[in-house]
Assembly symmetry: C2
């Protein structure tokens, strides 16, 4: 076999927390140090999951490691997140989730009761999502070489409605729908980490997303693209889609819902909710003529009841995201340069 | 949906290094704290990988996290191990490896040149194994919450020769073939960790195993069971197979090859080579009448050139492994109780 891989890059640089942000630094890390060594069509697509076809019906494969701290937070925990997050990545390819793997890296000294609590939560979440956890692995590292528990889940799903979904399907005129208000997960994690308290209690938005996606597909909506808003938040997701699709997107700032506790916490802490992480929100890019139907379908699902059309794909030939404020002023959205809040998932 | 999962177990116990050994403690951890929360037929089989059939042709799914220290050792590194190990788990189900995922947990401060070196090694290994790395994820944790780099790979393979392979296929009279000498990987890791030097340099045995397996299957050998010898070594693998199959196995100690440097190092350090980890050795349980053919096929492959028949499945009704020494004395093999050497893979 002719094996030609590029040599490793010589550099004195080191991994920084920002390399895990999902933003620009993350992209650089992958582009410079990871992708060059795995030259295949799936990697080239740069997506969160890959569509495979080992047999007849196409299937989707995805993976995520979860290192969230604290392990338990209002509205969820690392176990629930590890199921929901991976299942949602499948859903964003339009795939019905079927199987999960679970690989644990435990730190010496972790109370077994904590492990049991996390596993129980994973079990509930898997049952709720209708996926079978079919294979796993457990490693233990010495005290001080981990942080309680890290979980990797990989997921396999099948495409019952094999319509092509992805950034390359995005067309000028498409509407951009947002499934609900943003920033709850990130601010919940930050609040529980910093011991902040708010008047109205804040909970993570973490939720299963295949339900509404399945309804869109079953109704014959030609979903062009889906993206869940995790690390880097709404802004990073939009910028990535614009860059990958080569399209210009115009989004109205006042159409983007942010609940008062998130807005308040962001103001106090100097954060922009557009960049704050979510675990149960997504955007759907839908052909203009089906946008109203899609919005009414999403509004009928609890998890996307507050769905809004926040903008559209423009005719412009620059791959960028323009944010219009209520006064009509425009600014360009950037990727998150480094790390806003590490280890939120 | 009716979701009934058991409640988490209340206990004051904590995770110990031995819980990661692949031995008895590992089993307890899974039995008490993990499996009860994921009640499905795949988990019940307690295997390293699961056969799925989302479409027509059955496929196999497996996962492993790699936490080996040091990251680089004679004969390999964590990246090579992360490809070989997962691909070998597929091979042990008789599956041709097709796709891999790669999820990284990086510690803040890791030199990027180290990351590049590891990724380059993974790329080479994936090309060598003929698998496509199709999806991935990267997380970064703070300094002191990891150990340079942890890698999870999950793998998908297909069964070109869909003969049932597994402990439940083991029958009295079957021959037990061992693919080569044991203990090289574990002793190499220990030596590089402790700075030990030997007269003849010791290298990890880490190797790809699908080649010989494919040849066995293509030749029509009714392979009853396959098991790669990783954590816990040959002894733990045999005991697990005996317990899962309910069969008695009798193995001749003097038929088990151990190379002089491994033998010497084990004597100095007070270790039993039967329990030392390997990353390129396996046992095959083969019907008696096909055993000679299987052995000649395996002997023709470089990776299993030193293949030996080390014992057989007896008619006894006790699920145990009996080790006969050269003088005819017998002893029962146990699982590794705790941890012999942490983080060897």
């Amino acid at each position: 076999m002719n094996i030609q891989c590029p040599p490793p890059v010589e550099t004195d640089e080191r991994v920084r927390l920002g390399h895990g942000s999902g933003g620009e630094l993350s992209q650089q890390l992958l582009r410079n140090h990871v992708f060059p060594h795995f030259n295949n069509p799936w990697i080239a697509q740069g997506r969160d999951s890959s569509v495979l076809q080992p047999n007849h019906q196409p299937m989707v494969f995805t993976t995520d490691s979860y290192v969230v701290t604290p392990l338990f937070f209002p509205g969820g925990d690392i176990g629930k997140l590890a199921v929901y997050g991976t299942v949602n990545d499948l859903a964003m390819s339009g795939a019905r989730p079927l199987y999960l793997s679970c690989s644990l890296i435990l730190e010496e000294g972790l109370p077994l009761s904590t492990l049991s609590r996390v596993m129980a939560s994973m079990g509930h979440a898997a049952a709720e999502a209708g996926v079978a956890l079919v294979t796993g692995d457990t490693k233990v590292v010495e005290r001080g070489k981990g942080d309680g528990i890290y979980i990797n889940t990989s997921g396999i799903g099948v495409l019952d409605h094999p319509v092509p979904i992805g950034p390359e399907q995005i067309r000028p005129g498409d509407h951009i729908l947002l499934s609900g208000d943003i920033g709850r997960h990130g601010m919940t994690i930050m609040a529980s980490r910093e011991g902040l308290e708010f008047e109205s209690p804040l909970q993570s938005d973490c939720a299963l997303l295949y339900g509404p996606i399945e309804k869109l597909l079953a109704a014959g909506i030609h979903v062009h693209c889906l993206r869940d808003l995790t690390r880097g938040g709404l802004a990073t997701a939009l910028v990535e889609l614009a860059e990958t699709s080569g399209c210009q997107m115009v989004v109205r700032e006042d159409a983007i819902p942010v609940c008062p506790p998130v807005q308040g916490a962001c103001e106090i802490l100097g954060l922009d909710p557009l960049y704050v992480a979510n675990e149960g929100r997504f955007i759907a890019v839908i052909p203009e003529q089906q946008s109203a139907l899609a919005q009414s379908i999403l509004s009928g699902c609890a998890v996307s009841a507050a769905c809004r059309t926040i903008g559209a794909v423009a005719n412009g030939d620059r791959a960028q995201v323009i944010l219009e404020n209520a006064l009509g002023a425009e600014r360009l959205l950037d990727r998150l340069p480094g790390e806003q809040l590490p280890r939120i998932c």
